[in-house]
């Protein structure tokens, strides 16, 4: 067995020397399963960024190895292990759901392989990690944006809906409550749901009894769509505010008329994007998919761009393009990378400091309302 292994390793080594060098980026996304829209939109943006550029300065080819984890944390961790051990990737890009990224991070950390998540916003994803970076803001900021927006619009009494199965939702609820109370708002009640549930009538009935000004929904779009629908059909017309986990076409398709007026914070809205990078991306996106560019795809494109930029910096320093330590160092020290979703600078904890936008569902479209800076 050991002989066979070393033979394979030697063969792999020889082919690496003989042919033009190929650097692999491992991508882990929920391409199927309940949160498939996260993965599919991310992949859409990633494909555009890849088509725009997949050659490094020294002529090395970048190759994407994309694995589907079905939105499951165990599968996500297994996928990272496989990408590192079997495919020999230099970097990991993914996931979207914070719970899944948190399952992946220790695997990447142990293998000293840099990992960048484009869209996981829970602070614990990067906390205490040396090899994990992210291309998005974190939930304490996002929660305060939600709270501020609600309070500024005169909504002083809130019910918070938390998805007990998602670390994202638990963290975001906490951040929202803290900022909302600090701003003078009152939390009437917290109701718990589980992702995968479809019947929220019990929760909706409980919310109805408290008559709040606003319902702060911190979960993901599959539950948001069904919950807002069930709330409206029970005669509740209280507005909903969510975050970056709800702004997907499925919210409107499944929620139908009930989703009208659903507000949410997000990373990107193409009508507010005006940098040359964003314009080029949006144009390519329209050409390829003939629909509005979404935020997950834009973030994935930025994470990919940051990886390429890190690899090119390593090449400049005379290192190999797949030098994991060097790539990680460059990713963690990203400074003013101008991407699609804005200018990205990574702080000492591996988090990006960026502005957020607030959108609202109007006539089935995601309409830009405002931008909030950190």
């Amino acid at each position: 067995m050991r002989k066979a292994f070393s033979f394979v390793a030697a063969a792999a080594l020889m082919s690496a020397i003989a042919t033009a060098k190929e650097v692999k980026i491992g991508v882990v996304l929920p391409l199927t399963g309940p949160i498939a829209a996260f993965g599919q939109t991310s992949k859409g943006g990633l494909d555009i960024a890849y088509e725009q550029n997949h050659k490094l300065k020294n002529g090395d080819d970048v190759k994407l190895v994309v694995l589907d984890d079905r939105g499951d944390k165990v599968e996500a961790a297994t996928a990272v292990k496989r990408l590192i051990d079997k495919d020999g990737v230099a970097v990991i890009l993914g996931e979207v759901a914070s719970s899944n990224s948190m399952a992946m991070a220790p695997v990447a950390e142990r293998a000293h392989t840099p990992m960048i998540t484009h869209a996981s916003t829970n602070p614990r994803v990067t906390k205490g990690k040396k090899y994990v970076t992210r291309a998005c803001f974190i939930d304490p900021f996002q929660g305060s944006v939600m709270a501020k927006y609600a309070l500024e619009n005169g909504m002083k009494k809130a019910v918070v809906v938390t998805d007990a199965k998602q670390d994202y939702s638990v963290g975001l609820s906490k951040a929202f409550k803290k900022a909302y109370r600090a701003g003078g708002g009152k939390i009437l009640k917290t109701v718990l749901i589980n992702s995968g549930d479809k019947d929220f009538n019990a929760q909706v009935s409980a919310i109805k009894a408290t008559s709040p000004d606003i319902i702060a929904f911190t979960g993901y779009y599959p539950e948001a769509a069904l919950m807002v629908k069930q709330a409206r059909s029970m005669g509740i017309d209280t507005p909903f505010i969510g975050a970056d986990g709800v702004g997907f076409p499925e919210l409107v398709e499944i929620g139908g008329k009930a989703s009208e007026g659903f507000m949410y914070t997000d990373h990107f809205n193409e009508t507010a994007a005006n940098s040359p990078e964003a314009k080029a991306y949006v144009e390519a996106f329209h050409k390829k998919y003939s629909k509005a560019a979404d935020s997950m795809g834009a973030l994935a494109a930025d994470a990919y761009g940051m990886i390429l930029s890190a690899m090119n910096q390593c090449i400049d320093e005379g290192k190999a393009s797949d030098d994991k330590e060097c790539i990680n160092d460059k990713l963690r020290h990203t400074k003013e990378y101008s991407g699609v979703t804005g200018v990205i600078t990574i702080d000492k904890n591996g988090n990006a400091v960026k502005s957020a936008v607030v959108n609202e569902v109007k006539k089935g479209d995601f309409v830009y309302k405002t931008t909030v800076n950190p």
Binding site: A36, Q40, V191, L192, A206, E253
Partner: protein
Amino acid sequence: MDLSTFLQQLVNGASLGSMYALIAIGYTMVYGVLRLINFAHGDIMMVGAFLTYFAVSFKFPFEAAVALAIFGSIVVGILTDKIAYKPLRNAPKISLLITAIGISFFLENLFNVLFGGVPRAFSAPEYLSKVMHFNGIYMPVTVVIIPIMTVIILASLLWILYRTKYGMAIRALAFDIPTVKLMGINADSIISIVFALGSALAAIGGIFYAVSYPSIDPLMGIIVGLKAFAAAVLGGIGSVTGAVLGGFILGFTEIFVVALFPELGGYKDAFAFFFLILVLLFRPTGIMGEDLERSRF
């Protein structure tokens, strides 16, 4: 909790419970005959919902789409039996169980590959998605229609089982397959009928599930299939009336855990399954189940 909220929660419990009951009947019937826990049941549900969705998007009227979907699901059910279960008729039960799990994964992944995993919006006709309104209590029409459907299905199932020759053959099969064969009955075709019935029930369950919760994806059958299975076990697996009872108990438990202890709402499934364990500790065969070896239906 005031009275109107309480009544509303009762309606919610009946709505969810009747849904579980409808699906649990199919589970229990196949088990009653073949002693097979058909883990693919939840996935046949998904097939039924998807076929309806596709037929509707091809501009079929909803009723025709439902008929087509039920027919399609029956075909899928019979094919699974012929291809996967038939070669294992004389194999140990555990092989059959593992095959059923395999079929379940196969169907989920097949639909994932063919149609993608993004949830789709299921559009039901107006008369099924209406919400009635009395004195501040909101009641979707499905809350009335699903129990009626469940009773109709239950009655016709009992009629088939107790009043027809095929039913007699099915019941005989449940006791002793080799002896039934000796009597000159084609056991294989009778088993196919069982699967056809089970698949039709699953498809009806899947379609009503999609009408009530209009978001369908290839993995939608997993959780609800598991819940319906728990309902069937709670009521006494193999007993059709037990399945209905189990479905309602499970539905009310889930709703009232959230209603009475909102801060524990995240653990409602844990409560439902804890209740299941509790019942099984005192009545190992479930509420309506009798001696496992003696009772059939």
